[in-house]
Each structure stands twice: as structure tokens, then as C-alpha cells.
Symmetry: C2
Subunit: 458 residues, 2 copies
Amino acid sequence: MQRTLFFLFLVLFTHLSQSQEYTSDSVFIRTLFDESLTQGKAYEDLRSLCKDIGARLSGSAEAAMAVEWSKQKMESYGFDRVYLQKVMVPHWERGTKEAGWFKGNDQQLHKIPLLALGGSIGTNGLIEGELVLFHSREELLAAKRKDIEGKIVFVNQPMDSKLITTFNAYGGCYPIRGYSAIDASKLGAKAVIIRSLSLSNHPHPHTGTMQYEEGVEKIPAAAISTQDADMLAEFILDQKKTIFLLDMNCQQLEDKLSYNVIGELQGITSPEQIITFGGHLDSWDVGEGAHDDGAGVIHSLESLRLLKELDYRPQHTLRVVFFMNEENGNMGGKTYAKQAKLNGEQHIAAVESDRGGFSPRGFSCDGTADQLEMIKGFKDLLLPYELHKFEKGYGGVDIGPLKDEFEGIPLFGFVPDSQRYFDFHHNENDVFENVNKRELELGAASMAAFIFLLDKSL
Amino acid sequence: MQRTLFFLFLVLFTHLSQSQEYTSDSVFIRTLFDESLTQGKAYEDLRSLCKDIGARLSGSAEAAMAVEWSKQKMESYGFDRVYLQKVMVPHWERGTKEAGWFKGNDQQLHKIPLLALGGSIGTNGLIEGELVLFHSREELLAAKRKDIEGKIVFVNQPMDSKLITTFNAYGGCYPIRGYSAIDASKLGAKAVIIRSLSLSNHPHPHTGTMQYEEGVEKIPAAAISTQDADMLAEFILDQKKTIFLLDMNCQQLEDKLSYNVIGELQGITSPEQIITFGGHLDSWDVGEGAHDDGAGVIHSLESLRLLKELDYRPQHTLRVVFFMNEENGNMGGKTYAKQAKLNGEQHIAAVESDRGGFSPRGFSCDGTADQLEMIKGFKDLLLPYELHKFEKGYGGVDIGPLKDEFEGIPLFGFVPDSQRYFDFHHNENDVFENVNKRELELGAASMAAFIFLLDKSL
């Protein structure tokens, strides 16, 4: 009887203490959101990063300024430790603004705005060639050399607007930007023009990384806007022959020394166990890298600031990382993971925000069923803030290399609403003014709450 | 044994046919979204409503044009029946643009942009008075007559940014706009100025409806922007006395004849049973009424167009209604419900979209537990489109009066993401350019899918 009573007491006590814990977690998360929405620094910090620094391509003066800005900012928030980690990064420069024209049967020139793809070689003066239109990468791959040799290839494949998560539509067209210079060069083309990877019809060409292949001649590659791509594709159909003219003097320079910027709150019970979270500090050189990935580094910075501000004492060491060079090389992510292994660090989880500063929807998990179950367990606490997606999915490019060095480490990605992302992505509209204050603040509080729950659950 | 086999067969058959139905529903909903996202008319229709018609306050020339535009549009989509329903609406006009100034100790004048609240009387020439600051409606209600008499009251209560659903924050401040002219007049004030109901800090004053009370002297009421409200509140603290000067010649004119615009697809099995869905065609007279409620009427129009386009044959009669005069009187909603009762119509459900053209989140239901359970049953089919909220909540202002005439009728509200709504609401930023194409199209498809499921479930 006594034993029964004892067990009854134990069950009751466990239940009570669990429910008390749930209540106190829920109160703390509420406080994180309140603080972010009323006293948050996220919006002003993003403004400063976008306006006082600007776009910050790896190797640029702005990227160097961004490193200084970030270190100062982290120091000003009084984190336990703030330091730089050396990273050698590729250094590509756009040079003088690109220029492009086309002309049809009547030989009249029409100017067309374009952006060299990141990593492209220049044209070494003005080049011209007959334009050959392809509607997809498959069509280009199936083409005959005689139809392409000496010409300029134009790949006009739109992203699939039917896909609800826009990143899936991006994934579908990503190989066009990545490999068209290789595909077209193998068939003898002298340059390649692609339709920008965007879901909306607007006049701003985008840029982004592209590849060359050892042994395949490098040819220049550029993107035109979705609006111009539609116009040009229609124009070509009406002409016997369309000539495209192109001048770009972008170039790849020597690799350059840069840095990841790192800040920490020391863990109380297991300081040797590290939870990493961050975004990438570098951006492309157009716009201001506001959503990509100003929002992500600011989400991460604000998370640590909020947790510190509210006197949270973490179990594990919480480490915010502003990664350098995600856009064209991921040297920051690779260096971070390698260095962590070399230092004998223990990494138990990582979280990335690199999908823009939009209204929170949830978090993805690349790990095991158990790890996924763990974050599904956070849902009840985060649903009041409209986070409903806790799904199997990608962590992020920057934290990706940790998986190779630390077996079984779960990687998590912050998932905001994706509908507007590809209106701004890698084009001149990715500016501070296109980030909404509340959406950014809700994202920062969501990251903070998620990191808090991770720290308690691991 | 045979009986057991029979029941087993019955269970299996029911299960199979249910799962087949689920599959075919799911395929049809997918088609609705595909059609909306690739061949949708919503975005172009909204552009035309905003740019070819513009803002459309009840009684204005634009409102009359909007009625014509809507009827033509519905006819062009070939609905079974398109007609107008007479509605007498209030007719308030802003007149010459309002002007306001303030001055402090040094008597230097500072101009301040303001908007008369909808329904306010004019000032009958330039008036001036000492400005008295209150931080909340409660503070004003507790004030003494001697501190207010002959002065101008300024209520500077910000919306509560901590509330995740921004409509709750709006609800908290709504009485300030609605009743401050009454509250202040009872204490002898000569005019009232309020802080605009917006969650962001920007320079655009908003407008919106306000009340007078029988037997209480009418005084002019206007709003200044959130940015200016902060500035002015700070200014007042530094001065011995702040004088506010105000000139408005807005006026209430004779009621005017206007119309609800109605389109129908006839039901096959129960044509006498009607499902109403819509938004309001009128808007305030600043901006273009793009989110409020251009998006809502376009969601509704596009829903019926999509269902017709995809050859859906409804069980019940599906009726889209563009209500007139939601903003300042709701005469469209009241007339519609009364007329429905007079005509002996059978109304079985109604759906409204009046929360902007943002990413879909779900639907609210004002009805019984069973009615709420019914829409929770739609969740599995709509979650792939990121609709996750199926909650007890408000239907909408326009459809509200149906509840009085048809006992137990369930009213549903479309729930998009609410974070940006009060950046645009009733101010000059509520323009077409601030509506995102995909978000609008996803909203329209969500409405169509919801109406389809309602039609099948009722």
C-alpha cells in the first residue's frame, strides 16, 4: 500500500513538475517574443548592416567592413567571448557595370540590363553572336553542336510557380545557373545568357554562383530579368536572326583573407558541448543583402542578445556564427567545421537562418526520426506564435559541413514564409526597405525560442 | 458468417470510397491552386480595380464606377446570374485636403499631416486650441472637465505590438477612433486628434469610421501618423503650452443609392440553398483599397471563376457578393441579409475575406462546435498549401447580419498572415504595389478550395 502510494506520489509529482516546466517554458518564450517585439534591436541592427555597410561580397571592402561591424556589435552586447576565425575566400569582382544589346532583322539596337553570374569570366571587350533560344536545360543538353557553335545560348526556363514552397521551384532551376556555361561551352557556344531565377515578373536581373569544369573552355555567363527574358524570347521568334552583344569585365582575383565572426554564451552544466547557430555575413554585390542573409545573421545575433538580456543561463555553450562566403564557395562553413574538429570541440546541434526575414512558419530538421520527434515536441509551445511546420528538411549551406565532421549531429533550418523570397533574391530589390519590422522580430524571437528549447532538450 | 463478411465488405467499401473521395478532392484542390498560380486572373483584376477605378468610398463617383466595373467583370466570366442589389449608403466627403499645425513656446508653426476620421464634421474654418495629451482612452475617460474644456484632446495610445495576431491589437485601440469624439466632447473639448491605428512607425496618417452620440455635441476628429504622434507627444512635454490649429471641410451629405454586386453559379442538387462569399467593394478614400478590401473581393471573384473554369458543378448555389459600404455603415451587409429573409431564401453558410491579400493561414468559424469540427476536417487537405489555422473566430462585418436573419448559420472568415496588414490599413500605402502576386493567388485558391469543401460537406 505504501509502495502504491509512493508510486502514485511519484507519478503525480512527475506530472506536476512536467506541467510546471511546460508553464515556465511557455512564460519564458512569451517573454522572448515580448522583448523582441517591444525592445528588440533586430530592425535597427539590420538597417545599420544594410545602410552603414551595404552589399558585402566576399573579398570586397564592404565584406571587410562587415566583419568589423559584426565584431563591434557582438562586443557591444557583452557576450562571454567574441572572436574572429580566419577564412581564405575567393575574390571575384564585377568591375565596370555590364552592358548588353540585341538586334533583329532591322539591325536596330536595343539595350538590355544584365548581370554577370558570380564567378563568370569577362568578355575581354565587346563580343557578339547569334542568339539561340532554349526553353529548358534538357533542351540545351539535347542540342546539336552545329546549331550552337560560335553562337550565344539563351536558356529561358521559368521557375515552376505551382510549387507552394518557392525554394523547391528554385531548386528545379538552380542547375541552369550552375551548369549552363559548361553545357553550352561543350557544344561550342561563345557565351550564355539565362533567365533570372525569380518567380515574379519584374525588370531586375539577378546574379548568383555558377560553375566551370576542368577541361571545358570557360565562357562568359550572365542573367537577364524575367520580364526581359519573356520579351526577348518573343522577339527571337519574330526574327530571322537575333544578334546579342555583350561586354563584361568581371574577373576572378587572388583569394583573400577574411573571417567568420563568432560570439558565445558559456554553458553552465556542459560548457564543452556547443550549439551553433547563424547565417552568412557575405552577400551578393547588388541590393544590400537584406533578406539574403542580413535577416539570417540578425535573427541569430538577436537570439543570443535576447537570451542574454533575459538572463538565461544555458546548459550548453551557445555560439552565434556569422559565416563568410556562403554565396560563392562556402569557405566560412567549411573552415568552421574543419577547425571545430581540429580543436577537438564537441558539437551537438546547429541551426541556420538563410531563407529571409519573413513571417515564421517553423523549423526543418535533417536528422533522425528521434531528432525530428524532439522538435515536433516544441510545436505546442510555438504554435501560439504561428509556427506550425516542424518537418524533415534541409539545415543550411553554412552548417552543412558540420555533418561531415560530427557524425549524427542534427542540423536545423529556420523556415519563414517563402512566398516573397524570390522577388528579392540576389537582385537590387533585396534592400532593407523590403524587410518588414514585425516579421523580422518574430523571426528573431522564434530562433531564440527554438535555441532555448534545444538547449533544454539536448 | 455471411453477415460478418457483409459488414466487413461494407466497412471496406466505405473506407475505400472515402479514401477515393479524399484523393479526388485532393486532386481537385491541387488543380485549383495550379490554375490560380499559373492562369489566375486575380492579380490583373486587382490591378485594374486599383488603377482603373481607384479608392472607392461609399457615395463617391469611384464607388459608382466600381459597381459598373464589378458587374462587367462578373458578366465577362459568364456566371449563371449577375445582378445588382440596391443599397442606400451614407455619403461623407473629405472635401479640400485637411491642414493642421502646432506651435509651442516660441510660437513657431509646424505643419503636420492629418486625415479627418470618416464621418467627422468639418471645422467650419480654421480653429485652434491648447492641446491636451492623453496616453489612453482610460486616461481620457478619467479626466476632469476643467482640464479639457475649450481645448483640443490628443489621444496617443499605441497598438499593443506584443499581440501576435495584429487584429487583436487593432481591436484594443478601435474604441479610441470610434468614441474619442464623444468622450472628449462630453468633457467640453472642441476637437480631438488621435494617433493612427497602425503597428509600424511611418509618416502616413490613417482614417476610419468614428461615432457621434445623440445629445452630445459633435466635434471634429482627425488622426495623425504614428511617427508624428510620437514626435508631438514628446514636443508637448517640452512646452508650457502647445497650440494645435486645424482646418477640415469634410461633410456628411444626403444618403445615396448604391449597389451590392452579385454573381451566382446555380446549385445542381439543392439550388435553393445558398452559400454566400464575398468582401466589400467600397474602401476609404486614401490609397487604393488594395488590401482593404480589394484583395477580399478579388479572392471571392476569382474563387467563383476558378470553380466555373474547372467545370465544378456545385450542390448548392454559390453566390459571390461584393458588398457596398462596409467601411462606414455596413448598409450593404445589412440590406443583403434583410433582403434574403424577405425573399424567403435559404442561406446555409457564408464566408468573408476582409483581412488583406497576404499568405494564407487558415479559416475561422463563428459557429457551433460541430461546425468548427467540420472545417477542422478540411485541414489535412489544405495543409499542403500551408493553411494550418482552423479556429473559433469572427466571420466578418459584411456577412455578420446574416446571423440575425438565419438562426445557426455558420459564418467563416479567411485568415491570411496578419503581420503587415496594419502598415497599409486605411492609409495611402494601401495600393496595388503592396500586394504580392503569389500571396494574392494563394489566397484566392484557398477561398475556392474552402468553398468547394463547404459545398461538399453541407
